[in-house]
């Protein structure tokens, strides 16, 4: 966003500061309505292209002694493979899930980082549909694995941990079904969405609010605005941390859910 846009945003509707709203995130570029090509769609396509190009380019001439680019790619891959997949799923059958986990991690990480990289500055995951789509993949994957491994009846039977007294089983069963089919996907999608959404709106609030105070005349208010703006930059750095963390947490939870489905006991 250019500063002119910021200024007009801050002083829209005549006097008074307009705090940023959820409407901020709907930015159609082409067309309008449900089939509009919006900014997140373009950013998402860009990220996919960028990841594909980077992964191919950095591993095309893979050497035993890695170059700089290969080192970065291998670092990210090793982090997901050893730090997440192998530790959580276990060394027996983690390897077939590494492609899924690595794709998830890279896609979320790059899209989240786009939230603070200057010319783009739009966290794709702040549109709830995109985390929901990713979660749907995870949701189908872990249920499919679990049901394929033991069959539908046993899958539901295994939801209740063994060794419980009989009278408590029905209520635990209901709780576990809610956990597996409602809470898990809901929290997985909402966590990513909520963090990106809240973080971005916070930065927009600091920057627009700071700009509004800077341009509102007087002495004290612009001084406070300058402090607010500096704090906006600090929040951007904090956002960088959160963005990485959310990509990590999403992949970690995906691995955990898959581990629950492939594990022999509950």
């Amino acid at each position: 966003m250019s500063l002119n846009v910021l200024g007009s945003l801050a002083t829209a509707d005549g006097g008074g500061f307009q705090a940023p709203t959820a409407g901020e995130f709907y930015q159609p570029l082409l067309f309008d309505g449900p089939f509009a090509i919006t900014r997140p769609a373009v950013v998402l396509l860009l990220s996919v292209g960028l990841i594909a190009w980077w992964l191919i380019a950095s591993t095309k001439e893979a050497a035993i002694v890695p170059g700089k680019r290969q080192w970065v790619t291998e670092g990210a891959y090793g982090f997901v493979r050893n730090g997440i997949a192998r530790d959580i799923i276990g060394s027996k059958d983690f390897l077939r899930f590494v492609p899924l986990l690595f794709s998830m991690f890279m896609l979320i990480l790059v899209n989240n980082l786009f939230g603070v990289i200057p010319p783009i500055q739009y966290p794709t995951m702040s549109r709830v549909g995109i985390p929901v789509a990713l979660t749907l993949v995870v949701y189908v994957t872990y249920h499919y694995i679990g049901i394929k491994r033991v069959g539908l009846r046993a899958y539901f039977k295994n939801l209740v941990p063994p060794g419980l007294p009989g009278w408590i089983k029905p209520s635990i069963f209901v709780l576990e079904v809610i956990t597996f089919f409602v809470t898990r996907p809901l929290t997985l999608a909402l966590r990513l969405f909520g963090n990106m959404f809240a973080g971005h709106i916070l930065i927009v609030l600091f920057i627009t609010g700071g700009w509004y105070m800077l341009t509102s005349g007087g002495i004290l208010l612009p001084a406070a605005g300058a402090v607010t703006w500096i704090f906006g930059f600090v929040m951007t750095l904090f956002e960088l941390l959160v963005e990485f963390l959310q990509a990590y947490v999403f992949t970690l939870l995906t691995a955990l859910y898959i581990a629950g489905a492939v594990a022999d006991e509950h």
């Binding site: 530790d87 929290t187 963090n195 809240a198 947490v249 939870l253």
Partner: protein, 69 residues
């Protein structure tokens, strides 16, 4: 005074997760301080705990925007 009570609700919903996340990282730091080589093992557990505890606050902010009117 005007405003939206949903934001107040979000503030309330953030108290619990705030305390919870604090406790988790306190325990994590304690564990690493006592046994630095266990760091790699504790890290995923700590972040998992954080992710699960955080869920309530995330619900809070989502619902605050839902009930904004």
């Amino acid at each position: 005074m005007t405003g939206n009570i949903a934001i107040l609700g979000y503030g309330l919903s953030a108290i619990g997760p705030g305390i919870g996340v604090g406790l988790i990282f306190a325990a994590y730091i304690n564990g690493v301080a006592r046994q630095p080589e266990a760091r790699g093992m504790l890290q995923p557990i700590a972040f998992l705990g954080m992710a699960i505890t955080e869920a309530l606050a995330i619900f809070g902010i989502a619902l605050a925007f839902v009930f904004r009117g």
